[in-house]
């Protein structure tokens, strides 16, 4: 039995967190600026994109977190990535921090900044000058929905998740919001994700557990193989749950990690399901690998294959393309040893034994949720990846939207 349960409230489910999201005019119609706030300074852990082309807010946050281990607020806008904007971009990102700090009456070094949207355009600072104080004035314990809407770009639904569990006699909460949709590639935090918790947890342990969680969630999803310039995942831990400090190696640390994993994996799956133009969520499990890195590489190769993703869109149990993608994954595998099933239907046995019942496969692949189970029959390691199908709508969105 799981020792935690899902609750509503997203990024404001934990004690002492508020959020808001408003429209200030960066985008044409939808909410475009969000603030997340801890009422007292919180411990912070963060993971950033590995792209060498880094947006100004990413560079700035990395600098800030080298000097400061506490954070009280995150300000984020959609509609403009503030990437490839040079000196002026850094100034604009700093100004977002300054405005947030002023509006909330907190020190500037306790504010992080994030942006997502089109690359290579300057932020419309007039809109932001009015938007940030407005968002600050609307901060609320029920603001998660607004904040999660305000960070959406081509996302079709807002992404919220929270869980509650007991540490000693204290109810503790972890919650979060995320946005994804395009430029999603499994290599470090690959979108925006903001998490909050009221747990007390040792310095250092939070970063360790968070990084491991990211590796099992946001680093295991792929929409189009394009890695963004702006991605970051941040968690704030303000300790207001009043539990005794969670320490490394304790059962409490294990429970905290399982609960955190649930939140980040849930958000990651929402991002994969909501990939640009996607109609299906695809879970790819590679088992029987000789090593964990083999399992990850094999699953990633299938997840990134345009041909596999179009076949799934066409509801075609095209196992040949899966074997081809496994074959070029770089893993030293024996294709004739591979067994394959889709939504629990056996498709392929060893020595290329074709087990597929095309009629049943057609029905199974009409589902919205597709699971591919691949057994390499080489060892005992496994890994799971999530992706989505590749559709004409993806082309439509990206041929017409300058992101």
């Amino acid at each position: 039995m799981k020792k935690f349960m899902e609750i509503p409230g997203g990024v404001t489910a934990a004690k002492g967190f508020e959020a808001s999201g408003v429209f200030c005019g960066i985008r044409k119609i939808k909410k475009d600026i969000a603030i997340i706030r801890s009422v007292i300074p919180a411990k912070v852990a963060a993971v950033f994109t590995l792209n060498k082309t880094l947006a100004a807010p990413v560079v700035l946050d990395k600098l800030i977190l080298k000097r400061s281990t506490r954070c009280s607020a995150i300000v984020a806008n959609s509609g403009n990535a503030n990437a490839c904007t040079g000196e002026r971009g850094f100034g604009d990102a700093e100004r977002m921090i300054e405005l947030t700090a002023q509006s909330l009456g907190i020190p500037q070094n306790e504010v992080l900044v994030a942006s997502t949207g089109v690359i290579g355009q300057y932020l419309p600072m007039e809109a932001i000058e009015s938007g940030i104080p407005q968002a600050a004035a609307l901060l609320s314990e029920h603001g998660s929905d607004d904040a999660s809407e305000a960070i959406m770009t081509t996302d079709t639904f807002a992404k919220n998740c929270a869980v509650r569990f007991m540490i000693g006699e204290k109810p503790i909460t972890i919650g979060g919001i995320a946005k994804g949709s395009g430029m999603i590639e499994p290599n470090m935090a690959t979108m925006l994700a903001f998490l909050t918790t009221d747990a007390n947890i040792e310095d250092g342990l939070l970063q360790k557990i968070f990084r491991r969680g990211i590796n099992r969630s946001f680093n295991r999803i792929s929409v189009d193989g394009d890695m963004s310039t702006n991605d970051m995942a941040v968690i704030l831990a303000n300790g207001m749950g009043g539990n005794a400090d969670i320490t490394e190696g304790s059962p409490d640390a294990e429970l905290f990690e399982a609960a955190l994993d649930h939140v980040v994996i849930s958000l990651a799956k929402m991002i994969a399901r909501d990939g640009e133009g996607a109609t299906k969520l695809v879970e790819i499990e590679v088992k029987g690998a000789a090593s964990h890195s083999d399992a990850v590489a094999a699953a990633r190769s299938v997840a990134n294959s345009n041909l596999v993703k179009t076949a799934i869109h066409g509801e075609d149990a095209n196992w040949g393309r899966i074997l081809a993608a496994l074959g070029y994954s770089g893993v030293d595998l024996f294709p004739e040893q591979i067994e394959l099933s889709m939504n629990n239907l056996p498709i392929l046995g060893k020595n290329y034994t074709i087990l597929i019942d095309e009629q049943k496969a057609k029905v199974a692949l009409a589902e919205k949720d597709i699971s591919l189970s691949i057994d390499l029959n080489q060892g005992t390691d496994s890994a799971i990846f999530w992706t989505c199908d590749l559709t004409k709508e993806y082309i439509h969105i990206n041929a017409s939207y300058r992101s």
Copy 2:
């Protein structure tokens, strides 16, 4: 001035080569089996896919070429890849060789076999039993068009190229045919390509020059990043041009290599232009790289980016996506140093200086041929890649065609 000129005739332009292509019933309507023949045994060089999932004909040809350095004929079918077909697949590929050898009255170890099409289905051997003798009977010095049609899968046009040049006082010819379209990824020979020449050339030198040519052509194109199980490029050199042996390091070797490069690069560009669903040929030149491998990695990353390819389809000069793709290429670059132009229009200067004239860019990107020139400003190395735009038609083809 170039010392060679293009001539018609494709794979049969060189002396002593014949080809044919017929319909035998593997596919529904179009020609599906081809033979290429040298009237005397020819020297042979070949390059094969690096995919671990290897089709039966690829495994077989590699075995044959370990034992034999002469080849008189190649038999190839479209419509069925004979991949992931186990023991029976090997038997079927061997039978194709046997039938070809019998029909032509040549030894079996002088025949190579190739297949392309759907993975995981057995070859319809009844059709092939009648098709090969039929193709053998129709071999002709004018058969290049038929053969190039017979190896097409989702290709929309047949791909032929030939050049003629002088070695001493002898006119020498190199020609070839190719097919591509989907599962095109820059890693070794990534499609079917059959080349012929009547040059006399040293053993070993042919393989060296051929491999270098492949690295500058078929290994520099990308349609969808999926590497096929069946790809191979083969060249036959029958010496019937009567020139003195071309030796390593000689001016003749240099001329031969330049001429061969012209043929393989022309065929490679045809493959990129004819990518599944493509409407544009995109040439990506990366200059100013610190090393050749950096230039290749940077160009490949841009060529494989779904977001860049959809933007070009939308005729949107979306340089931000190009910078993002360069940023995750793995190359240690400085994005603010990058300069970018499209079809000779300056788009971006150093320090993210936006030079783009959106009106002119719109006109330039309406062209069928798009060239991206990227200067990393880090060194003196460069590389060229070719790709195509990514369109709804790609999705349509691959969601409905089991390849």
